[in-house]
Symmetry: C2
Subunit: 418 residues, 2 copies
């Protein structure tokens, strides 16, 4: 597939994340005004909230763009998703007869503030990166017992906290928590000293379900994808996670990129599943190319310094697709809703520079990484800005995710003295 | 404290769960109509949605009762909570001058259908029953390692699934799941054969918070309490829960009683914390009587048979209060919202007949219990109805929770053949 040319000239640059092939969906505001739904095209954003209000977009069960999220649109279902994408593609294509009608609805992306693109119904985080699970397992349980016995049979996951999901650009306050190191004789309450990132992709459920669904149905129910950084306090996690899993270690924040890259835009980049060591049970079996060829990078920028790229990997390193995770999520009969967010789990490749968390990069702090400014990191330092990026590269174009960024602020002096 | 008498005569019976001292809040409908907010008084329900519409109740930021939940009212905050309780108590008290105005708004409880009293924002389940944690730990890890090392230092919990919370009376479909017994060489996908209850109390957050809060603040933020049955598939749990905790084992359903018993109604039944084996860290320290003297029972009724009371215990058996759980929930900085639901964890007493789950009652299936019809149970059989009840007993009156009931239906023949 090659570049679709747009009359928005900036969208035609080979390395621009938002060509006509992409058309990601977000929520933006200008000058402190009310948030509107928008579609990114090159350096511009098409204000579909105002277009709908002015009668230039007709959607079933309108109005759908007058709330500050894409949830109402997602709830219209896959036929409406395809219709809008086709309509917008026609309107924005080079040679479109409607260019003059549409141009007034373009806003310069440089002038806007981005907001959460959806209201997150519930947030689930999985653990589907095999290299990540192997690395963490090796550190915690030794190489012999690295992968838990269930890991090759189903996508292990846990429920997270929707209230803690924030949009890219939100500052992240280093958390306090209960800590107890292996040498300590009792726990203490202190700021996390091992605060970390997790490089993930988030899948957004667009179609609800009321009982068990197949992998194919699950794939069709996913509206789109975002980059996702599941901030993790490793020292809180180590003390709390037995026997019921991570809780406050993951409660501080999860950052997502502001633009939903639709499943339709990513369709040309679908890839088959990795080889399976053991066959999956029937209800989880692969049934088509449901993984994505998306290159992923992590940059760390110390306060006032230049960025260092500290990891580069690819979403094809995942062992379970978002569709398999969503199907597994429904096996016990629980309902899934519009706006449910599923984190993929940390995506690491086999090499050291391909690891998606500092825990792995620094091997639990034993092998600190060196940045371009000469300083080293085992975990995040106060003032560090962490940025994820993701791109699916086509023939002369790229489908990009836009930024997934957060700066870590020092912990509060004492959260109980206010 | 003694009985407050009401002109609704049924409310004055010594064993009625809904005297004037209680005034629990729920959502009901009659004859298939729209759900309304209501307040239970004896055998009647006061329709506050219609009272508000007719101008008999004036609330700040009205209307608050025109949606089908108590969330908007909870969001008004503690002063409004106290005002409404005082207003309703005055209106319904024996000798009230407004009896004739109010009587038309009473609906017979026997004629209504109950609905979820709140929109659950997010659902968290804790593990704060010491006897339960000890029993389960002994079965899984041996008596030496029964309590996890962190258990006496903080309230261990995990995030559950708000979408799966249902109101009492909802049938529960036995789930399928991935199972692998210790003797099996590989997992299989099958209906759960070890489906269980968990006897709990749920706390409802009425005041939001944006960062760490103290135990006292947490106590004040809790609007009220419900009975809660966290249906649990023990065989799914055993295979999936390492290393990230329970997931599909808890995803089928969680049943709550339809009436929110307010913190105000339970105030006379507050009790001090149990003795602490080790001192809690400052931010979790006890700071007043925040436990409740509530007797709790579990009844099991096989299809077409009489009920057997299979467990009797008390909420004072909890080691951590809901306030301590909520405070711990905020330590890492994540926001809490109006409508968040916190399960206490299974409440078991020290004796065999005081155990709040079949897993414990039957000691993992090794010691089946015998019902009044002569049949035995290790776990739930299809057609069984499980009912929790709870009462705080005063001097000549009781503050009751009303029913928390569910009937278990057979598993679907095959959830993937539809």
């Amino acid at each position: 597939m090659s570049l679709k040319r747009s009359w928005v000239a900036s969208a035609n640059a080979a390395d621009h994340p938002f060509p006509l092939n992409n058309l990601p969906y977000g929520v933006f505001s200008t000058g402190g005004g009310m948030p509107h739904c928008g579609v990114a095209i090159g350096d511009m954003i098409l204000d579909v909230t105002t277009m709908e209000a002015d009668g230039l977009l007709k959607l079933p069960q309108a109005p759908v763009f007058q709330a500050h999220s894409w949830n109402a649109f997602m709830a219209l279902g896959p036929a409406a998703w395809a219709d809008l994408r086709a309509t917008l593609t026609g309107m924005l294509a080079e040679g479109s007869s409607t260019q003059q009608d549409i141009e007034p609805y373009l806003v310069a992306a440089a002038d806007v503030q981005m907001h959460m693109p959806i209201t997150v119904a519930e947030y689930t985080d999985f653990y589907a990166g095999r290299h990540h699970a192997t690395n963490v397992g090796t550190m915690f349980r030794g190489a012999e017992n690295a992968l838990p016995p269930n890991w090759l049979h189903m996508p292990i996951g846990y429920n997270g906290r929707a209230s803690s999901v924030v949009v890219s650009g939100t500052d992240i306050r280093r958390p306090w928590g209960q800590l107890k190191g292996p040498e300590d004789d009792k726990p203490r309450f202190a700021p996390s000293a091992r605060f970390d990132i997790e490089l993930e992709i988030g899948a957004i459920v667009g179609t609800p379900s009321a009982g068990p669904i197949t992998v194919q149905e699950a794939f069709d129910n996913i509206f789109g994808y975002v980059l996702l950084n599941d901030w993790s306090a490793r020292d809180i996690q180590a003390w709390e996670y037995q026997p019921l899993g991570p809780f406050q270690a993951k409660a501080t924040a999860t950052t997502i990129s502001p633009w939903i890259v639709t499943a339709a835009a990513l369709a040309p980049f679908r890839r088959d599943a990795p080889a399976r060591d053991v066959a999956l049970l029937d209800h989880l079996k692969d049934c088509g190319p449901m993984f994505y060829n998306i290159t992923l990078d992590v940059r760390l920028t110390p306060q006032g310094e230049h960025p260092s790229t500290i990891a580069s990997t690819n979403a094809t390193e995942l062992y379970y697709s978002a569709a398999q995770q969503l199907a597994h999520h429904t096996t016990a009969g629980g309902p899934m809703r519009v706006g449910d967010l599923l984190g993929s789990g940390t995506i690491s490749g086999p090499e050291k520079h391909q690891r998606g968390s500092l825990l792995e990069m620094s091997w639990g702090g034993q092998e600190p990484i060196t940045l371009t400014d000469g300083t080293t990191r085992s975990f995040i330092a106060d003032g560090d800005t962490l940025a994820l990026s993701g791109n699916a590269d086509g023939d002369g174009f790229t489908v990009g995710f836009g930024p997934c960024v957060g700066t870590v602020l020092p912990a509060l002096e004492n959260p109980y003295t206010r």
